[in-house]
């Protein structure tokens, strides 16, 4: 504490309090944003709930808002969203978990240094580029390979979403497995277990809650995804529940795709408009529930680490085993019966025989062979992911390179973008991103400083943190709808650069809060205490002692945010973009942006294939460039900083 004889004491206290207030406001902005999103969605969804009734809206079997009579049944759309997500998880979970285990336990450091960036690269591919790839390659492949009428199906959506969820699940699951205490692993190995036995019996069970959280986060990402799904799922007009429910070759319509297609065309203030906000509200509630679940599980994991768990046994071990065996037998028989009805007796007998042989072979295999087999399978998951990444990159680079030249980068589009360049879109994207980061960086950094430096953990920090988590889980299309309702219509900004910038800023705010906080956490407390002990105020300490070494970490967060903002389409679709050959000279004018330009070319301008691929390549390079800078910065920072 400074002594009272200091002449500047009063003004210093005043300034300190002023700064504290500003930081608090920055932190509280996350709460305000999430509340206004929920408020505006609810306000605009309310009329339709009033007119149709919530139950009828959710359980209605047909979505036909422009028919006579108009029908607002969201049920098939909800089912569509869930089915696509389930399919995506069936693809993403085995691949992600396999690669997470491989990265954390099997790969050599050198191999790790190749695989990890590759998977992060996958995270850097914008949704609309996935959609573009899916639309041109994947749907055609499905249509010809399986000889179905159209390739725009549930399967196509699930494959794309599965690939997109892989980076999220892999990185969180890998963290969980890596953070299992070393003693567990060493103890298991010392007892004579093989590496595979250690992984299977010790590491994975211990990391289970982290892995569960990873999967749930992946589910959240898949449910909220818009552009890719919109482009490859076919979108049957009334929403369609597959017949039978397992028919993956049925076109499907999801909540997000419905919003993406219909929002741009609907008359504001009509029942259809309110109904779309009703869908957005349902979507938001589903994703928020999923994200809260993940947060709770991760939170429990943190608590669990602190205490030793003692399991209580309700039944004696023997009864428990018998009960389990009975359940397994029951499930097994049901499945065989199902198989019998679906595939006929011959295939059923064949499959059962194969399974029985596998069972006996497994008993005969030594642990060493089992380990080799398991490692082979784990390696195969990594190879699969790398091949997928390779195919996507090869396609986009191979087709995009011929379009790339100086004129393409410096000229405006002509003939609806079939010829000419993409200069206005590049500039538009840069404008959007610059504005978004200019708004989000002060708010996010301020919030993180407030959370970590200025308060103790309590109710307020819990609320702010929860708000940031919720914001992080909010689907990008919901930001778009909110931006449209609030900035474009309510504040009368119209389709404008400003509306897009603020909407994007809100979207990347949680990323910046989180990465800044991580950077602050890594600064040891001793140097803060040293500064305070020398008589510096809180703010002087923060500004001169804490922030400089945290700067690279904060910068990494900012660049990750930039990358995300540059690649997103859904938030700007209804707030900022127009398809034009034009560079705005005021923030109240609309812009063209790379993701939107690509989306429009790929879905609306026949005969623009070369420029589509060229735009995709430029967008990809831009976003991946940002991510690459962030990754390099992070690894440099991690290597050089030692306390």
């Amino acid at each position: 504490m400074p002594t009272s004889s200091w002449p500047t004491r009063k003004s210093r206290t005043l300034r300190e309090n002023g700064i504290r207030l500003l930081l608090f406001l920055a932190a509280f902005s996350a709460v305000i944003v999430i509340f206004s999103i929920i408020y505006f969605l609810f306000q605009d969804a309310f009329p339709i709930f009033q007119k149709v009734g919530i139950i009828q809206f959710i359980a209605g079997m047909r979505w036909n808002p422009t028919g006579t009579p108009p029908l607002y049944g969201a049920f098939p759309l909800i089912v569509g969203t869930l089915l696509v997500t389930i399919g995506a998880m069936a693809i993403a979970i085995p691949l992600s978990l396999g690669s997470a285990i491989f990265i954390s336990e099997i790969a050599t450091p050198r191999l790790k240094a190749v695989i990890k960036p590759a998977i992060e690269l996958l995270a850097g591919i914008p949704s609309v580029v996935f959609g573009f790839f899916g639309l041109i390659i994947l749907t055609t492949w499905i249509q010809t390979t399986f000889n179905v009428p159209t390739g725009e199906t549930w399967l196509a959506g699930s494959i794309l979403l599965g690939i997109m969820a892989i980076p999220t699940i892999t990185s969180v699951a890998e963290d969980a497995i890596s953070s299992v205490p070393k003693e567990y692993k060493e103890g298991s190995l010392a007892l004579g277990a093989t590496r595979w036995q250690t992984i299977r019996r010790v590491l994975v069970p211990t990391a289970m809650s982290g892995i569960t959280a990873a999967i749930i986060l992946g589910i959240g990402r898949a449910i909220g995804e818009t552009m890719a799904v919109l482009m490859v799922c076919g979108n049957p007009t009334y929403g369609l529940i597959p017949q039978p429910i397992t028919n993956i070759f049925t076109p499907i319509k999801t909540l997000t795709a419905t919003l993406g297609i219909e929002m741009g065309e609907v008359a504001a203030g009509s029942n259809h408009y309110y109904a779309l906000f009703g869908l957005a509200l349902i979507l938001l509630i589903i994703t928020l529930a999923v994200n809260i679940l993940a947060t709770v599980i991760l939170g429990r994991l943190r608590e669990k680490k602190a205490q030793i768990t003692t399991k209580k046994h309700l039944f004696p071990q023997k009864t428990k085993t018998q009960m389990k065996q009975a359940v397994y037998l029951l499930i097994g028989l049901t499945l065989i019966l199902l198989l019998f009805t679906a595939a006929g007796p011959l295939i059923t007998i064949l499959i059962v025989l194969i399974l029985i042989t596998a069972y006996y072979l497994n008993k005969r295999f030594t642990e060493k062979i089992k380990q080799r087999l398991a490692f082979f399978i784990l390696g195969a998951t990594i190879v699969t992911i790398l091949i997928i990444l390779g195919i996507i990159l090869a396609y986009i680079i191979g087709n995009g390179l011929p379009a790339l030249n100086i004129d393409f980068l410096t000229q405006g589009p002509t003939n609806l973008g079939r010829t000419g360049g993409i200069f206005p879109s590049i500039i538009g994207t840069l404008y959007l991103v610059a504005g978004a980061i200019a708004i989000a960086l002060p708010l996010g950094v301020g919030a993180a400083i407030y959370l970590h430096e200025y308060t103790k953990e309590g109710t307020i920090t819990k609320i702010i943190r929860a708000a940031a988590d919720l914001l992080n889980g909010t689907p990008s299309i919901v930001f778009g709808l909110f931006g449209f309702a609030f900035f474009v219509l309510y504040l009368k900004l119209g389709f404008s650069l400003l509306a897009g910038q603020i909407t994007l800023a809100f979207m990347i705010l949680p990323t910046i809060i989180r990465t800044t906080e991580e950077a602050l956490i890594s600064i040891p407390n001793t140097i803060r205490e040293g500064s305070l002990a020398l008589g510096a105020t809180k703010w002087q300490t923060t500004r001169n002692v804490v922030l400089p070494p945290a700067a690279p970490g904060i910068l990494t967060g900012a660049i990750l945010g930039i990358g995300r903002a540059a690649g997103e389409t859904a938030p700007i679709l209804f707030t900022a973009v127009v398809f034009s050959n034009y560079i705005p000279n005021s923030i109240l004018q609309p812009v063209n942006a790379l993701p939107y330009h690509l989306f429009t070319l790929a879905t609306s301008v026949p005969g623009s294939q070369t420029n589509q691929a060229g735009t995709a390549l430029v967008l990809l390079l831009l976003v991946i460039g940002f991510y690459l800078i962030a990754i390099l910065l992070r690894s440099r920072y991690q290597k050089t900083t030692k306390w």
């Binding site: 979108n235 039978p244 028919n247």
Partner: protein
């Protein structure tokens, strides 16, 4: 390994076997659906516009007689998207404006009348409609000049060049003594979009100080945007709906368009359709191309 450790081991194998069984069951049921479809002959894949589109509204009113579309209708968000999908999908059928016909798709004669500009002009082609621009109140300034330009001989040449049907008896546009600056914004119908985009490029050469933006989005979006003042001109391929007549919008006709029915070039089943057949197809009563041959 001693025999005592086998029970938990066996339990794990049980789980693995069950998962495998589950996966194969799912796999088989999923793929059985696909083999069933193959035996039924070439299915028709219905492609249409989304529910707020002017083209869809017109098609629904004039071809479907306001009856429901089949639930298998796949929605696309623009005319171009329909054309792209039909070009990619062998069994597909779709409807687009005349301007979107090219070599990648096959446009079918309807009631034996080919979808051409000439047939729309002499009123023999059964499905055609006017294209509009709307302004809030009477058009003034740059909006008025732009609409006059599109309605002029020069503008109508663009309409025709884009494959649409021009207005007859037009006069030349002159910018003598006029200067325009500031911005002019248009949004709306994806059908009108190419016309407005091309016209804006040549209009800009007359008034270099004027900035023009044209964005597609659909007729509904254009009408909403112009009525709320977010754009100067709303483009539409349909007339105002009853709910929109009170918005104070003024209508300008800028051309005409026929709706063409397009199929994939590989499609050898049909060479032409009747309106009744089209209706039956889009209602979902005819689901395979073979069915169409026998009827």
């Amino acid at each position: 390994m001693s025999q005592h450790t086998t029970p938990p081991h066996r339990k794990n194998i049980g789980i693995v076997l069950l998962t495998l069984l589950l996966l194969t069951t799912l796999g088989v049921t999923m793929f059985s659906g696909c083999t069933q479809q193959q035996t039924q002959g070439t299915s028709i894949v219905l492609i249409g516009r989304d529910s707020a589109s002017g083209t869809r509204d017109f098609f629904w009113t004039n071809v479907m007689g306001k009856t429901n579309f089949s639930q298998n209708l796949l929605e696309k968000n623009s005319n171009g998207a329909i054309q792209l999908t039909v070009a990619q999908t062998p069994g597909a059928i779709g409807y687009v404006g005349l301007g979107f016909i090219d070599a990648t798709v096959k446009a079918l004669p309807i009631n034996n009348v080919a979808p051409t500009v000439a047939h729309v002009l002499d009123n023999t082609y059964p499905i055609s409609r006017d294209l509009y621009m709307f302004t809030k109140g009477n058009a003034t300034g740059a909006a008025l000049e732009f609409i006059l330009y599109i309605q002029s001989t020069e503008g109508q040449a663009i309409v025709q060049h884009e494959g649409f049907v021009p207005i007859q008896n037009t006069t030349h546009y002159s910018n003598a003594g006029k200067t325009l600056s500031g911005t002019l914004t248009l949004s709306g119908s994806t059908t009108v979009f190419p016309i407005a985009e091309k016209a804006s490029t040549s209009f800009k050469t007359l008034y270099p100080n004027l900035q023009i933006t044209v964005s597609p989005g659909g007729s509904g979006a254009g009408i909403t945007a112009v009525s709320q003042g977010t754009v100067n001109i709303g483009m539409s391929s349909r007339n105002l709906q009853p709910s929109e007549t009170t918005l104070g919008l003024v209508r300008y006709t800028i051309g005409k368009d026929g709706i063409a029915i397009i199929v994939n070039p590989q499609n050898t089943y049909v060479t032409g359709l009747t309106l009744t057949q089209i209706k039956a197809i889009y209602q979902g009563q005819i689901t395979t191309w073979n069915q169409l041959q026998t009827t």
